[in-house]
């Protein structure tokens, strides 16, 4: 399955990101969107799956840059 993920950061000027990835994003995951580090707060289906693609909406909050060993990718 390929996860097409819409990352949104409420209350922040950052416009978010769209990324296709081969694993489901998860709460607590730390992701880098441009120069900003975020922690995933919530994930939910945005649209029904279609073919090999799942469409996911992710809500994040900005965090300080994590230590290297805590980064998921």
């Amino acid at each position: 399955m390929i996860y097409k993920v819409s990352y949104v950061i409420p209350g922040h000027a950052h416009p978010g990101a769209i990324v296709n990835q081969t694993y489901m994003p998860y709460v607590g995951e730390k992701v880098r969107l441009g120069d900003v580090w975020c922690e995933i707060m919530e994930t939910k289906d945005l649209l029904p799956p279609h073919g090999e693609f799942a469409y996911i909406h992710v809500t994040c909050r900005v965090i300080p840059a994590p230590e290297p060993e805590t980064i998921s990718q």
Partner: protein, 153 residues
């Protein structure tokens, strides 16, 4: 060097296509690597190339400058440049590299559209995929704006 098929198949443009069809489309293009802050596409300039991010992240901005307002970041699998490819108008945004580097597959629009004309079933799928991707980008934009307004009110 060819792009691994497991990377190509994560791109929206190729959804629903066979490995052979994906490879044929990818062979129309060329890979290029950009470094942080490199401008890939500049707003208002002419161009019909379609781009697929293979790795890294790019920033979609407006006002013609790399440091202008950012509309969205696009990561692996995402395409851009489709608006000018489809309507022959000038570029509607400036796209720059925001990761250390970004690898991009560049397909000239005429080659892609000619291929779609020759291979109707592939062409239908490609156009359908482009439409779905544009719809998803609109949804993302709507949600971002809605959440920003909620936070400001």
């Amino acid at each position: 060097m060819t792009t691994p098929i497991d990377v190509l198949r994560t791109a929206d443009l190729f959804a629903g296509l066979s490995i052979e069809q994906i490879q044929a489309l990818a062979d129309l293009g060329e890979k290029r690597t950009y470094q942080r802050d490199d401008i890939i596409v500049r707003e208002e300039e002419a161009g019909d190339e379609f781009f697929i991010v293979l790795s890294g992240q790019v920033k979609v901005g407006c006002l013609g400058a790399a440091d202008g307002p950012t509309l969205v970041l696009l990561g692996a699998g995402q395409g851009f440049g489709e608006i000018s490819m489809l309507d022959s108008g000038p570029r509607s945004a400036t796209i720059s590299c925001v990761s250390e580097s970004a690898e991009v597959l560049i397909i000239h629009g005429k080659l892609l559209l000619d291929y779609c004309d020759r291979e109707n079933l592939v062409g239908y799928r490609v156009m359908y995929n482009l439409a779905r991707d544009l719809a998803f980008k609109l949804r993302h934009r709507n949600i971002s704006l809605q959440q920003r307004e909620e936070c400001q009110s």
